[in-house]
């Protein structure tokens, strides 16, 4: 892990930066600096206290005031209790990245305050009800429970909090009231009235805090109501899969992938999608392969542990040249790991999982818009090349939400490569491209074979060793073809930059914001949306780069290893994190500052 002469920035279990090979006592924690129309609100409490409802309400309300909104959540693997937090960023410019900043913070109990201790700064305003001990700085005591009871019951505490935030920031009252009405539409008039009463009570309290100068924060709405979509990676994947023609889903529930599976179950009847909960991931993956064989466009969703069980089936898809789409939403492992946290630790599993060699495609979207695109793309690629396609996301990307201008549904249904077969059809016929026409049983006169053994062109078991070589060559030629058509990585920054940050998947927006905020020259970001096979032409662009900086969320730098293996990249600097939380913008900035210092010293 530790290389001499290279800088390894690691983030320790307390979420603080720990920098190897460097001395000095600089403040490495994130700083909090409220700006007039760019705020960070953090809400922390037990599971089941209604924090999610506050985030939903405020997201809608802030968007109507013209703000961009980003929301992200970190939570424990339990249904009730524990300490969870939600982060709400609002900005005049698009915001789509995890931050360590904390301008206005609500803690629902002492436990929550303790949970957030590393994310409360001298300039953070912390509000809570009668808390003692852990939050002394800038603590403002608000009788939330009493106010809720007066409004109709303690269950309304979250509405009181939403109101206070709105009151402090001086949002327009009618906006949040409308949002509350629509949020509770379908409920009884009494429930709606109680919630409105609670929000109004909160607004009054918030306005008083602002008037008295205790919370000198204000909101400067940047413009008209924003008309963007606001959605999570889970929601984007769900709709991307539907757009990609997904009509069969079989999965076993596993965080953080279950959201897509349950969303497709919710919409399945309306869209003609078969959705089945398999008895295990082995069954799920084998069902998906059977469904594709019969002409469906099938998906399974899982996380690392479930994917591990699917790897035999992955190999089956490989040898049988059957399309397959897998959403692999990563969480920290080994084994059960941290079930509700985030990591980019399963790249190697996705890359090497399955016995034998066979072509596969690994996609790694960086934000909800790219998630939508790649959920569609996965079905297209699987169908085109008759290979398994794995879409790598993670808990952070699946559960956080941001604004997207639009998600365009293509004007036509996705084309399929399925052909009507003739009587002499051969499932594994050798062709110039190495891709055999894909027939499905019942469509045409031909018989459609499927064989897990090494086989001949007819799809029957073959122990002809020359045939074996031809089939190996057929499959490896498909990988070459896929590589020739691979998606190039995005280059963000000066074309001739000598310093290059390389990242993949969910760190895209964090890297982008971190670099944009540093005023550095001669640095660019290369973000890979397709991590395998690599786009070979891109290698030529790397000749002018003198310093490679790896940024990824796992302990060993797995993608760094892949690029070393394929492109011979020697990493001068590696910024890695694996404590279960995503990188914050500030952590990346701190790491980059250190790297710049080191580069200057030389």
């Amino acid at each position: 892990l530790h290389r001499n002469k290279s800088l390894l920035v690691f983030i320790n279990k307390f979420g603080l930066l720990y920098i190897k090979n460097l001395t000095g006592g600089q403040d490495m924690t994130a700083s909090s600096a409220p700006e007039k129309n760019n705020f960070v609100i953090v809400l922390a409490g037990e599971a089941g206290q209604g924090v999610q409802a506050i985030v939903t309400l405020l997201t809608k309300a802030f968007k109507q005031e013209g703000f961009y909104v980003f929301a992200a959540h970190e939570f424990m693997s339990r249904v009730r209790g524990g300490s969870n937090s939600s982060l709400l960023r609002i900005g005049a410019q698009p915001v789509c990245a995890w931050t360590g900043r904390n301008d206005l913070c609500f803690v629902f109990d002492d436990k929550a305050a303790n949970h957030l201790k590393n994310r409360i700064y001298p300039d953070t305003f912390v509000l809570g009800d009668g808390l003692k001990g852990t939050v002394e700085q800038h603590f403002i005591d608000v009788p939330l429970a009493r106010m809720a009871k007066e409004a109709g019951g303690t269950i309304l505490i979250n509405m009181i909090v939403a109101g206070i935030i709105w009151g402090i920031l001086g949002g327009r009252k009618e906006i949040i009231e409308d949002v509350v009405r629509s949020f509770f539409s379908g409920k009884t008039a009494e429930i709606i009235d109680n919630n409105l009463t609670a929000v109004r009570s909160g607004i009054a309290a918030g306005a008083e805090l602002k008037r008295s100068g205790q919370t000198p924060l204000s909101l400067a709405p940047p413009g008209a109501q924003r008309q963007d979509l606001h959605l999570t990676g889970t929601e984007a994947f769900t709709m991307g899969a539907i757009a990609g023609g997904c009509n069969f889903v079989s999965a076993y529930p596993m965080s953080p992938a279950s959201g897509v599976y349950t969303a497709l179950a919710k919409h399945g009847r309306n869209f003609g999608i078969i959705v089945e909960q398999a008895e295990d991931e082995i069954s799920a993956a084998n069902m998906v392969i059977g469904a594709w064989y019969a002409g469906a466009r099938a998906l399974t969703t899982t996380s690392g542990g479930g994917f591990a069980l699917m790897t035999e089936a992955l190999s089956l898809a490989g040898v049988t040249e059957t399309p397959m789409v897998i959403l692999l939403a990563q969480r920290p492992a080994p084994a059960t790991g941290l079930a509700t946290r985030t990591e980019q630790g399963d790249l190697n599993l996705a890359l090497y999982g399955g016995h034998g060699e066979f072509p596969r495609i690994l996609l790694a979207p960086g934000n909800p818009e790219q998630v939508f695109a790649h959920a569609q793309n996965a079905f297209y690629l699987a169908d085109t090349y008759q290979v398994p396609v794995i879409v790598l996301t993670d808990q952070y990307l699946m559960d956080s939400s941001c604004d997207v201008a639009n998600l365009a549904v293509p004007d036509t249904s996705p084309a399929t490569t399925v052909v009507k077969t003739a009587a002499d059809y051969q499932r594994y016929a050798f062709t110039e491209t190495a891709i055999s026409p894909r027939g499905v049983p019942g469509l045409g006169e031909g018989l459609v074979a499927f064989d897990s053994h090494e086989h001949d062109e007819d799809g029957h078991i073959s122990e002809d060793l020359d045939m074996r070589l031809k089939m190996v060559e057929k499959r490896s030629r498909k990988l070459q073809l896929i590589a020739e058509n691979a998606m190039p990585p995005d280059w963000i920054g000066p074309e001739d930059a000598g310093n290059l940050i390389i990242c993949w998947g969910s760190t895209l927006e964090i890297a982008r914001e971190a670099v944009a905020g540093l005023d550095l020259k001669n640095i660019a970001i290369m973000h890979f949306q397709q991590v395998f096979p690599l786009h070979e032409e891109t290698r030529k662009r790397l000749r002018k780069v003198s310093s490679f900086i790896l940024l990824e969320g796992n302990p060993a730098g797995q993608f760094g290893g892949l690029l070393k293996q394929y492109w011979g990249i020697d990493w001068k600097h590696r910024i890695l994190k694996c404590n279960g939380l995503q990188f914050s913008v500030e952590e990346v900035q701190t790491a980059l500052r250190k790297i710049v210092e080191q580069e200057v010293k030389k």
């Binding site: 003609g272 059977g290 019969a294 089936a313 249904s413 018989l447």
Partner: protein, 287 residues
């Protein structure tokens, strides 16, 4: 039997001479002919094992997948195109050992497919190890002092889970085997047919003669709609009954329960994306 449209050409069959699988293959072909099915509308599905090679020896579509994993793809194939006749043909190790969990859950789903389990109470392809259905005391290379585990009773298990069609037959009686397979394929729902099959190489105990002497057909007045009676008969071990133990018509199938085929059996490959509905769904995220 004469030539049929289900005969494969130039096939080098890897079963031992005298293997019970030949009889099962013959019975299957005979049944498919009687049912007047076209080879291109039939999918034979299997896992791994000697029995699981059968799909290579019959002229239909086929899916020869992973060991133990025949049932999930078979369920999915039928769900993706309900116009196909899907028949799973595999051994006792594949279906009751490696694939035991799928056997249980396929019964719960009740897809309109048929499972033919070639039950020779021994592992053939891996050369003679014991199977989940090996009888106690049966000596094998991995149980030198004889099998001590309780043999799995697939019929009792299936009936206890309320499988909608449960039968057993003996490969030595091709006409009866074919008749039972025919009813199994015709049954709408998941049909399980356990087929006793002598292994001439690795099982010198449960031979053709042993099965002849230790089996008998259920009486013609056996009430196949009485689940408790069926369960009782399935528990008999002195002499093993053959025939249809239990059947229940009219139960909704997995494919029907998906809700996708309410307006006709259009295969999924002909389905189009509901683009206007999707656009409307996306718009719900605009605030």
């Amino acid at each position: 039997m004469n030539q049929t449209c289900f005969d494969s050409k130039d096939t080098d069959i890897s079963w031992c001479p005298g293997c019970g699988n030949f009889s099962i293959l013959k019975a299957i072909k005979q049944t498919l002919v009687e049912l007047e099915l076209s080879p291109n509308k039939v999918v034979m599905v299997s896992g791994i094992g000697q029995a699981a090679k059968l799909p290579h020896y019959i002229s239909t579509n086929f899916f020869n997948g992973l060991h133990g994993r025949a049932l999930p793809p078979a369920t999915a194939i039928k769900a993706a195109n309900p116009n196909l006749t899907v028949v799973v043909t595999s051994g006792d190790g594949d279906m009751y050992g490696e694939g035991g969990n799928h056997f249980i859950h396929t019964i719960r789903r009740n897809p309109d497919i048929t499972s033919l389990i070639h039950n020779n109470m021994v592992y053939g392809l891996t050369k003679g190890q014991s199977s989940p259905t090996s009888l106690k005391g049966f000596q094998t290379p991995d149980h030198l002092q004889g099998v001590t585990n309780e043999p799995l009773n697939p019929l009792a298990l299936a009936i206890s889970l309320n499988a909608s069609f449960v039968a057993r037959c003996f490969a030595g009686d091709i006409p009866q085997t074919s008749a039972i397979i025919k009813k199994a394929i015709q049954h709408k729902g998941y049909s399980i047919v356990d087929i006793f099959q002598p292994c001439v190489t690795f099982n010198q105990v449960n031979t053709f003669r042993w099965f002849k002497e230790n089996t008998y057909y259920l009486e013609s007045d056996h009430d196949t709609k009485n689940r408790v009676a069926a369960f009782q008969r399935a528990l008999e071990t002195d002499r093993l009954p053959l025939g249809i133990f239990f059947e229940e018509a009219g139960r909704p199938t997995f494919e029907e329960n998906t809700g996708v085929y309410k307006n006709g059996l259009t295969p999924l490959y002909e389905h189009k994306v509901e683009r206007e509905k999707l656009r409307a769904l996306i718009e719900q995220y605009r605030t």
